[in-house]
C-alpha cells in the first residue's frame, strides 16, 4: 500500500470525502478507516476527494485515515474465473463464505483467483517467435468446456525468450518476453485490468451471426446476434429474470457472464443450484462449466453495485479477446442506474430527469458500447464477440422513464414484457406487437440459407396473422365474435395457435424450456400449413365447425413437447393434417 495517507473529513452513507491524498487520480482505489474499507475516488475538487465506499460505512468518521493504493479498480483475469461467484468488486463470495461465515463482513479480503489451484500450461509458440499484443502463447484447460488462452497483454510486444510447459498456480511465470525496450517481461497466467476501461481490440465489425437462444419468440420473431445488444424492460413479475436465466442457460454462447445487479439473493442461489445440473445442449456438459457469476444483490453495498456491471463486462471482454463468443446478462440495469443516482445525489451534483445524473445516458451508452463483434488483438486476426442483454425495471412499468429511454437509444433489440400477458400467464410475456429487433434482416439471411428461404416467409406470415388478430379483437369487443365473417374466424383460430402453441413457452418444462432452430421452424410451419389447408378447405365448402374441431389440433398443441431427437414426428403430424382436412371437402 502507498504511504500517502489522507484523512476523512465527511461521511454520508456510502460517500466519504477525504483530504490529503496528494497525487491521487480519478477512479483510483483507496482504503478507508481503520477497517481498511475499499473505496474508489469519483470526484476531485482541490484537496477534497470524494470516495464511493464499497462497504457499509457505519463507524467511519472525520479524522480517520485513508490510504492510496495507486491503482484503479481492477479485476484479476486468468484461469479460475469460470464457475466463480463474485461480488461487484470481484471478491469471491464462495471463499468469503468459507472463511468469514454466512454474512458478508466488512474489510473481508480474498484474492479473486484461487492460488491453491494448480494449472497445466501448454505453450503454443516457441522460443524466438515474435509476439505482439493479444497473441496467444499457450493455453490452460480451465473447465470441461473452456480452454483458457494465455495472451500477451495489450501493451507488450517482443520476442519469446523462454517458454515451456509448466504446472503451477496463476502466478507462475509461463514465458519471458524480451520487449522492444530490450527488457525481459515475465508473463504469468494472470492479468490485471481496470474495469472502467474497455479492453482494446483491433477493430469492431458488424454482428451478423445469429445467437440462437432456444426461445421461440426471440429466435423467430425478435432475434439477437453474437455481438448484439438487447434490453428486456418490464414491470415486476413480468418475467425479466426468467428470460435472462433462460438465455444464460440456452443461448449458444461459449462463455456466459451473469451479473445479478441489485436483485434478489435467492435468484443467485437458484442459478448456483441449477446450473451445475443443467446440460449444455451442444456439449452435454454442465452449464456451470462456461459460466461466471457476479452477484451484488439489492441489500449489498450500493457502490459495489455500481461497479458490478463493469466488473462483469471486463471479464467478458477478456474471454472475447481469446476469440470466444460471450454473452453477458445484467439483471437489472435499473438498479445500476439507481446506484449512480444515489451516489450522484450524495455528491450534490445537479440532478437531471427524476434525480438521475445528467450523464446517465452516456454511462448507459458506454456500457452497451463494450458489446460487439470484433477482430481481436493478436496476429491471428481471430474473431470474438460480446452480446449484452440488460433487464430494465421501470417504476410502475412506465416505459417513458429515463433508464428505459436512455437504453432504447443504444440497444438494437427490444423485448418488451407486458404485464397483461404475464397476468394471463402467457410466458414469456414478450409483447409481439411492440417488440422489435434490428437484426432481423441479417438473421433472416442466415436462417433462410439453412431453411431454403422459408424461415423468413413463415415468420412474416405468422406476424401478419398476429397483427390482423389485434385489429379483429377490437372489432370483436364491439360486435361479438358471431358477427365476424368465417374467414376471419379461421384467422383468429390460427392466431390463437401461434400464440398458444408457438409463442407460449414454459421455462420450467424439461422439454419446452429449449427449442432448437430446426424444431422452431417445424413447429411454426406446422401451424401455418394447417391454416393454409383449412382456408382452402373452407373455400372448397367445408364448414367452420368441422374445421375448428379437428383432432389433429391436439397433436399440434402437443408438438412443442416433441423431444429434439424425435423431430420425425412432425412429418407424421403434417400427414395427419392432410388426411384429416381433405375428406371435409368431399
Amino acid at each position: 500500500m502507498n504511504e500517502i495517507k489522507g484523512e476523512v473529513i465527511k461521511v454520508s452513507g456510502p460517500l466519504v470525502v477525504a483530504r490529503g491524498l496528494k497525487g491521487a487520480r480519478m477512479y483510483e482505489m483507496v482504503r478507508v478507516g481503520e477497517g481498511k474499507l475499499f473505496g474508489e475516488i469519483i470526484e476531485i475538487k482541490g484537496d477534497s476527494y470524494s470516495i464511493q465506499v464499497y462497504e457499509e460505512t457505519e463507524g467511519i468518521g472525520p479524522g480517520q485515515p485513508v490510504w492510496r493504493t495507486g491503482e484503479p479498480l481492477s479485476v484479476e483475469l486468468g484461469p479460475g474465473l469460470i464457475k466463480s461467484i463474485y461480488d461487484g468488486v470481484q471478491r469471491p463470495l464462495d471463499k468469503l463464505s468459507y472463511e468469514f461465515g454466512e454474512y458478508i463482513v466488512r474489510g473481508a479480503e480474498k484474492p479473486a483467483l484461487d492460488r491453491s489451484i494448480v494449472w497445466q500450461f501448454n505453450p503454443s509458440v516457441k522460443t524466438g517467435d515474435r509476439v505482439e499484443p493479444g497473441d496467444i502463447i499457450g493455453s490452460v484447460r480451465e473447465s470441461n468446456l473452456v480452454v483458457h488462452k494465455i495472451m500477451i497483454p495489450p501493451n507488450l510486444s517482443g520476442i519469446v525468450k523462454k517458454i515451456e510447459p509448466i504446472r503451477g498456480n496463476v502466478d507462475e511465470v509461463v514465458a519471458i518476453i524480451e520487449g522492444a525496450d530490450g527488457k525481459d517481461h515475465p508473463i504469468t497466467m494472470v492479468q490485471r485490468w481496470p474495469v472502467r476501461e474497455p479492453r482494446p481490440v483491433k477493430k469492431k465489425i458488424m454482428p451478423v451471426e445469429p445467437m440462437f437462444t432456444g426461445q421461440r419468440v426471440i429466435d423467430m420473431f425478435f432475434p439477437i446476434t453474437k455481438g448484439g445488444t438487447a434490453c428486456v424492460p418490464g414491470p415486476f413479475g413480468s418475467g425479466k429474470t426468467v428470460v435472462q436465466h433462460q438465455l444464460a442457460k440456452w443461448a449458444d454462447a461459449q462463455i456466459v457472464v451473469y451479473v445479478g445487479c441489485g436483485e434478489r439473493g435467492n435468484e443467485m442461489t437458484d442459478v448456483l443450484m441449477e446450473f451445475p445440473h443443467l446440460k449444455d445442449p451442444a456439449s452435454g456438459e454442465p452449464l456451470m462449466e462456461r459460466t461466471v457469476l457476479v452477484a451484488n444483490t439489492s441489500n449489498m453495498p450500493v457502490a459495489a453495485r455500481e461497479a458490478s456491471v463493469f466488473t462483469g463486462i471486463a471479464i467478458a471482454e477478456y474471454y472475447r479477446d481469446m476469440g470466444y463468443s460471450v454473452a453477458l446478462m445484467a439483471d437489472s440495469t435499473s438498479r445500476w442506474a439507481e446506484a449512480m443516482r444515489e451516489i450522484s445525489g450524495r455528491l450534490e451534483e445537479m440532478p437531471g430527469e427524476e434525480g438521475y445524473p445528467a450523464y446517465l445516458g452516456s454511462r448507459i451508452a458506454s456500457f452497451y458500447e463494450r458489446a460487439g463483434s470484433v477482430i481481436c488483438l493478436g496476429s491471428d486476426e481471430r474473431k470474438g464477440a460480446i452480446t449484452v442483454i440488460g433487464a430494465v425495471s421501470p417504476p410502475g412499468g412506465d416505459l417513458s422513464e429515463p433508464v428505459v429511454q436512455a437504453t432504447l437509444r443504444v440497444v438494437k433489440v427490444f423485448w418488451g414484457l407486458d404485464d397483461k400477458l404475464a397476468f394471463s400467464r402467457h410466458f414469456p410475456a414478450i409483447n409481439w406487437l411492440t417488440s422489435y429487433s434490428l437484426y432481423q434482416d441479417v438473421v433472416d439471411e442466415y436462417a433462410d440459407k439453412v431453411f431454403n428461404g422459408e424461415w423468413s416467409k413463415y415468420r412474416k406470415t405468422a406476424m401478419e396473422i398476429l397483427q390482423r388478430e389485434a385489429e379483429l379483437e377490437e372489432l370483436v369487443r364491439l360486435v361479438g365474435i358471431d358477427a365476424l365473417p368465417h374467414e376471419d374466424r379461421l384467422l383468429l383460430q390460427a392466431a390463437k395457435m401461434i400464440r398458444e402453441d408457438f409463442l407460449h413457452q414454459n421455462a420450467f418444462d424439461d422439454i419446452d424450456t429449449y427449442t432448437s432452430p430446426e424444431k422452431q421452424f417445424r413447429l411454426l410451419k406446422l401451424i401455418l400449413i394447417y391454416y393454409e389447408r383449412i382456408k382452402k378447405a373452407f373455400k372448397d365448402g367445408a364448414t367452420l365447425v368441422a374445421l375448428t374441431k379437428l383432432d389433429v389440433l391436439e397433436d399440434i398443441a402437443k408438438a412443442k413437447f416433441i423431444p429434439e431427437d424425435h423431430l420425425k414426428q412432425f412429418d407424421t403430424i403434417e400427414k395427419k393434417i392432410e388426411s384429416s382436412i381433405v375428406p371435409l371437402t368431399w
Binding site: 473529513i9 465527511k10 461521511v11 454520508s12 470525502v17 457499509e56 460505512t57 457505519e58 463507524g59 467511519i60 468518521g61 472525520p62 479524522g63 480517520q64 461467484i85 463470495l93 464462495d94 468469503l96 463464505s97 461465515g101 454466512e102 454474512y103 458478508i104 463482513v105 466488512r106 414491470p235 415486476f236 413479475g237 445479478g260 441489485g262 434478489r264 439473493g265 435467492n266 443467485m268 442461489t269 437458484d270 448456483l272 443450484m273 444483490t297 439489492s298 441489500n299 449489498m300 450500493v302 439507481e338 443516482r341 444515489e342 445525489g345 427524476e354 434525480g355 425495471s393 417504476p395 410502475g396 412499468g397 412506465d398 397476468f423 394471463s424 400467464r425 369487443r477 358471431d482 420450467f508
Partner: protein, 459 residues
C-alpha cells in the same frame, strides 16, 4: 466502553426530525446519540451525516418541543444495537426494543447491531419447504415456502390484519418436531389494530412463541425506521442462532415508507417518484432481503409484509418497489370484500414465485401443480366470460362459457371464502378444488393429466 462519551451543547439547527450539532470531534457515521432535555427526559438519535465538526442527527422520537438551547447531546460511540435473549418470546416492545408490557427487563444474552449484514448469496439455501397457512387461496394457488418473502397488497379498510393474524395463528409445516416463532412488527397502526393482534395472540396462546414490536399511529414516526430492523434482528437471532422457524409479519410498510420520506424531505434530498427518496428500493431491500434460509442452519425467516396501497394503486412506489423485491404478492381485493367474501384474496393477480419448489409429490401431493393450473385457468375463463356477458349480453355466451361463469361464482363462494377460524389442511383445500372442477365437462380440464383426472376427479 473505555472511552468517556462526549457531551455537546452546541445544537445549532433543528429541521423536522433532524438536528445539527457543531463542534463535535471523533464522531462516526451511524453512531447513536442521546439527546437530553433539561427536564431530564432523553431521546434517541442516530448520526446520518458527519462533515468536519458538524453532525446531522436523526431524532427517533421526533424533535417536537426541543430547542437548540435546551438540549445536550451525548454520542455513544456505537451503532444501534438490540439486546437479545430467548426471554423475548412472549413479550411486547416498542420501536427501540424496550419492553412496554409491564414485564421485567430482558437479561440480554448478547447485543446485535440492528442493521445486520447482507447474507452472502453463496451461503443461501433455496426456499422449498411448504408452509401450510390453512388458507386455500394461499396454500393451493399461491403457495408460501419457508424463507420466502410474500407481501399482502391491500387497501385502507380491507381485512388484511385479520388475514395476517389468521396466518400467524395457523401457519405450520407438515413435518413435526420443529420450533416456531412469530415476530410481529407493527408500524404506525392504530391502538385498536395493535390490540386486535396482541389480543388474538394471547387468546390463542400464540403469544408464548411470539415477539411483538409496536409503534402506534400516534408514536413518533421516525421510530418506525428502527422498528423493522429491531424485529428482523430478533428474527435472525431466533432463526440462525436458536434454530427456530420464524414468521415475521410487518404491518404497515406504507407507514414505514412515509417516515423515510419525512427524513428525506428534511434533508432536502432530490426526491424520486411522489416525493419518496431515490434510495427507497435499496432501503426496502435491506429489510426484505433479511428473509431466507442459510445452508447448514436449521432455522429460517419467512416474511409477510403487509402494505396498504394508496388509492388501491399497484403502481404507487410503495407496492411497486415492494413487488420488485419480494417473491410474489397476495392481493386483497375490494370488490370481493364488498361482496362479503373473506378472505378477499384475488387469486388472478396474486402470485407466489417460489410455489413450484414447494409443491408436488413428497411435499404436498402429486396432483398439486395440475390442479392449481386448472383452477386458475377455469376461474380466469369464468371471469372473462362474465365480463363478456356484461358487454354483449348473456346470449353471447356459449353453453360451456355459462358453466364456467357458474364455476367462477362457486369458486369464490366455496374455495376463496372460508371462516376466520377455519384452518383447512392442504388435502381439504384440494378436495374442494376437485369438487368444484367436477362442475365442468371433463374434456375442458385440459391442464390436468389424465392419470390425475382418473384418480382424483369425483365421479
Amino acid at each position: 466502553m473505555a472511552e468517556i462519551a462526549k457531551e455537546y451543547r452546541t445544537v445549532t439547527e433543528i429541521v423536522g426530525p433532524l438536528m445539527i450539532v457543531e463542534g463535535v470531534k471523533g464522531i462516526t457515521y451511524g453512531e447513536l446519540a442521546d439527546v437530553k432535555l433539561s427536564n431530564g427526559s432523553v431521546r434517541r438519535g442516530r448520526v446520518l451525516e458527519v462533515s468536519g465538526d458538524r453532525a446531522v442527527i436523526q431524532v427517533f422520537e421526533g424533535t417536537s418541543g426541543l430547542s437548540p438551547q435546551d438540549v445536550k447531546v451525548r454520542f455513544l460511540a456505537r451503532g444501534m444495537e438490540l439486546a437479545v435473549s430467548m426471554d423475548m418470546l412472549g413479550r411486547v416492545f416498542d420501536g427501540f426494543g424496550r419492553p412496554i408490557d409491564d414485564g421485567p427487563a430482558i437479561i440480554p444474552e448478547k447485543y446485535l447491531n440492528v442493521n445486520g449484514s447482507p447474507i452472502n448469496p453463496f451461503a443461501r439455501d433455496y426456499p422449498n419447504e411448504f408452509i401450510q397457512t390453512g388458507i386455500s387461496t394461499i396454500d393451493l394457488l399461491n403457495t408460501l415456502v419457508r424463507g420466502q418473502k410474500l407481501p399482502l397488497f391491500s387497501g385502507a379498510g380491507l381485512p388484511h390484519s385479520r388475514l395476517a393474524v389468521q396466518i400467524a395463528r395457523q401457519a405450520k409445516v407438515l413435518k413435526t418436531g420443529e420450533k416456531f416463532a412469530v415476530v410481529f412488527a407493527a408500524m404506525g397502526i392504530t391502538f385498536e389494530e395493535a390490540e386486535f393482534f396482541i389480543d388474538d395472540f394471547r387468546k390463542t396462546g400464540a403469544i408464548e412463541r411470539s415477539v411483538v414490536f409496536v409503534n402506534l399511529a400516534d408514536d413518533p414516526p421516525i421510530e418506525r425506521i428502527a422498528l423493522p430492523r429491531m424485529a428482523l434482528t430478533t428474527a435472525e437471532y431466533l432463526a440462525f442462532e436458536k434454530d427456530m422457524h420464524v414468521l415475521v409479519i410487518m404491518t404497515d410498510i406504507t407507514n414505514y415508507c412515509e417516515a423515510l420520506r419525512e427524513i428525506s424531505a428534511a434533508r432536502r434530498e432530490v426526491p424520486g417518484r411522489r416525493g419518496y427518496p431515490g434510495y427507497l428500493y435499496t432501503d426496502l431491500s435491506t429489510i426484505y432481503e433479511r428473509a431466507g434460509r442459510i445452508k447448514g442452519k436449521k432455522g429460517s425467516i419467512t416474511q409477510i409484509p403487509v402494505l396498504t396501497m394508496p388509492e388501491d394503486d399497484k403502481t404507487h412506489p410503495i407496492p411497486d418497489l415492494t413487488g420488485y423485491i419480494t417473491e410474489g404478492q397476495i392481493i386483497i381485493n375490494r370488490a370481493l370484500h364488498t361482496k362479503g367474501i373473506y378472505p378477499p384474496v384475488d387469486v388472478l393477480p396474486s402470485l407466489s414465485r417460489l410455489k413450484d419448489k414447494g409443491i408436488g409429490e413428497g411435499k404436498t401431493r402429486e396432483d398439486h401443480a395440475d390442479l392449481m393450473n386448472q383452477l386458475y385457468s377455469a376461474y380466469a375463463r369464468g371471469k372473462n366470460a362474465k365480463e363478456l356477458a356484461v358487454v354483449l349480453g348473456e346470449s353471447a355466451l356459449s353453453e360451456t362459457d355459462i358453466l364456467f361463469v357458474k364455476f367462477a361464482d362457486e369458486f369464490e363462494d366455496k374455495f376463496v371464502r372460508q371462516g376466520e377460524n377455519e384452518n383447512r389442511s392442504i388435502e381439504e383445500s384440494m378436495r374442494i378444488g376437485w369438487e368444484l372442477l367436477s362442475m365442468l365437462p371433463r374434456g375442458e380440464l385440459k391442464r390436468i393429466r389424465e392419470k390425475f383426472l382418473d384418480k382424483y376427479l369425483p365421479k
